[in-house]
């Protein structure tokens, strides 16, 4: 075959552009840029505004601006009797209202000195509903986190399963999200007849679903690639910044107020405290935090199982049991200061009360919210990362703006 029949001969000059560029790369400006993320951005989980200083795609500085959802909780709490504040407490962390109510009710009961007289059945019911709500809250945290970084399916699966919890809680309290179920000194109403069986059914149903979740999301290669070694929060920084909850446990400290303080009936229950161990990357990265949440769901199921055993055995519903029996007619604590704290799904929820002993309205009711303090660590760990990783970090902090802004 004659060689000159080849129609195209490769020469290095052939790859040069036929039309030269209009712009010259040396004359381009390269400088820092301020980008505003939120407050209406879906991946900021509500109305969080981030002022981000960018150098190309590298985040140099993050300044969170909050307060868009400020509803004057503390001012309201200074103007209402203690029992009327509970609906406001619901609206702090609005995806885990039962846990908030539990913490608040516990605080006022301690001030009144009736916290040791609460009937055991009431305490077990409180723990059941609080743990159910903890699972629902973690479902939202994990589901939306997956959606933030590109996994769509787990969100729908988790929303579907969360619906079962909301229906159970609606059955008990009459509301889907903001329950007003745990009252100071008791409960709004005893559990409906048959609740225990349905709850057991739910626990049986959810266990294989969690297995599915772990396969499709937590052990997913893409998910691991997006979250491992991202947003590493060292333990000393976490403690110094006051971080609590799954974030602190993700950094490797076995610290859970349910165990440390042993409030309510938690000392009688058998459960583990999962911590992050750096299985996929470094200890305290986004993957660890998410994995801690998944493991906590398993522990919550264990707790619910044990509580249901008690509620159908030792502390079974009797005809004359009245969960409102101990509710005081007039809530008038002695003059004192009290700080109470409890473990809610995001961390340590604390209430500081000052009572004057003369009225049934608190002189001061400060809410120490965990999302607020957890969010304040964001500027520390979001330096020198990529913008996409910033989104991954925000999701892994699991902020609920209702609690940040109060």
């Amino acid at each position: 075959m004659p060689t000159d029949s080849v129609q195209y001969k490769s020469k290095p000059g052939n790859l040069n552009r036929s039309v030269p560029n209009k712009f010259n790369a040396e004359n381009l400006r390269s400088e820092e840029m301020i980008i505003n993320l939120g407050p209406q951005h879906p991946s900021t989980h509500g109305v969080l505004r981030l002022e981000v200083l960018l150098d190309g795609e590298i985040v140099k500085e993050v300044v969170p601006h909050i307060g868009y959802l400020h509803r004057c909780f503390e001012k309201h709490a200074e103007n209402m009797p203690y029992n009327q504040v509970i609906p406001f407490v619901d609206r702090l962390d609005y995806v885990a209202s039962m846990n908030n109510e539990h913490a608040y009710a516990m605080g006022v009961e301690r001030m009144l000195g009736i916290d040791h007289q609460i009937p055991k059945r009431v305490e077990y019911v409180r723990v059941v509903v609080a743990e159910l709500n903890r699972i629902a809250s973690h479902f939202i945290a994990i589901g939306t986190y997956g959606m933030d970084i590109g996994a769509f399916t787990p969100f729908f699966w988790l929303m579907r399963d969360r619906e079962h919890i909301l229906r159970l809680l609606e059955w008990a309290s009459g509301a889907r999200l903001l329950y007003n179920y745990i009252w100071i000194g008791g409960l709004f109403y005893d559990l409906p007849v048959g609740f225990e069986d349905r709850c057991r059914e739910f626990v049986r149903y959810i266990k294989p679903k969690l297995q599915e979740l772990e396969t499709v999301l937590i052990e997913n290669k893409i998910f691991i690639g997006r979250t491992a070694n991202v947003g590493v929060l060292p333990l000393d920084l976490a403690i110094n910044c006051g971080v609590t909850g799954p974030m602190l446990r993700g950094s490797g400290l076995r610290f859970d107020l349910r165990r440390v303080d042993g409030y309510s009936v938690y000392p009688e229950l058998d459960f583990e405290i999962p911590i992050g161990d750096g299985k996929m990357g470094k200890v305290g990265d986004c993957w660890d935090r998410t994995n801690v949440r998944v493991l906590e769901i398993h522990e919550s199921l264990k707790i619910i199982d044990q509580c249901l055993d008690k509620l159908t055995g030792e502390h079974i519903r009797t005809r004359d049991f009245d969960p409102q029996a101990l509710i005081p007619k007039k809530i008038r604590p002695k003059a004192q200061d009290l700080y109470v704290r409890a473990e809610i799904p995001k961390g340590e929820l604390g209430f500081f009360f000052r009572a004057d002993g003369k009225s049934d309205v608190a002189l001061r009711c400060k809410c120490r919210s965990c999302s607020f303090v957890n969010l304040s660590v964001l500027p520390e760990i979001a330096k020198g990362i990529l913008v996409a990783d910033l989104i991954a970090i925000i999701g892994s902090i699991d902020v609920v703006m209702g609690e940040v802004d109060r």
Binding site: I66, G67, H70, C72, E74, K75, E78, R110, L237, I239, N240, C241, G242, V243, L253, F255, V260, K334, A335, Q336, D337, L338, Y339, V340, R341, E348, G350, F352, R354, L363, R364, K366, R368, F372, V373, S376, V377, E380, D405, R406
Partner: protein, 163 residues
């Protein structure tokens, strides 16, 4: 007789207080120690660094207004020590006319936002705070909402403010 944990803490607080003797409030839960505002930084530093207390977590900072009649405001710090499981409440009283406290941001980083919130709601100034701005209210809001004599402004940017 072995010393109780609280007595141990009180001893350390006493050693670090140069300006006024600390007083104990037994009715508070956890037990509270009132100290002079000038002693705060040193006390906090010692409580964190002393190996017998090691208060490594600052949980909460609360501002309290005692009203115009009393003429004072209070700042309450809730400390917690993870290794020893100790709780402590520190109280500072500041005059209402010129409310100023030294910031403890450099000791616990969690104080940053918590102090900003107290400033936002009560107008208590934290000296040497790196970035003392309003945090929950808008930057151009007038007055400090949680003070007992607070009256909200009638209009905010031509929008009627109603309670």
């Amino acid at each position: 007789m072995p010393m109780s944990a609280f007595d141990q803490i009180l001893l350390i607080v006493k050693e670090s207080c140069k300006h006024a003797d600390p007083t104990v409030d037994e009715s508070a839960t956890p037990k509270a120690i009132k100290i002079a505002k000038e002693d705060l930084t040193l006390t906090a530093q010692n409580l964190l660094q002393n190996p017998l207390t090691y208060f490594d977590m600052l949980s909460c900072i609360t501002g309290i207004d005692n009203g115009p009649d009393a003429g004072t405001m209070e700042v309450v710090y809730n400390l917690y020590s993870i290794p020893f499981n100790h709780h402590l409440m520190l109280k500072i009283i500041v005059p209402r006319e010129k409310p100023e406290v030294e910031s403890i941001c450099h000791i616990w980083k969690s104080a940053d936002w918590l102090e900003r919130e107290v400033f936002d709601m009560y107008g208590i100034h934290f000296l040497n705070h790196p970035d003392l701005r309003r945090i929950l209210m808008p930057a151009d809001w007038e007055g400090y909402p949680l003070r007992k004599d607070y009256k909200h402004q009638e209009y905010y940017r031509d929008i009627k403010v109603e309670y």
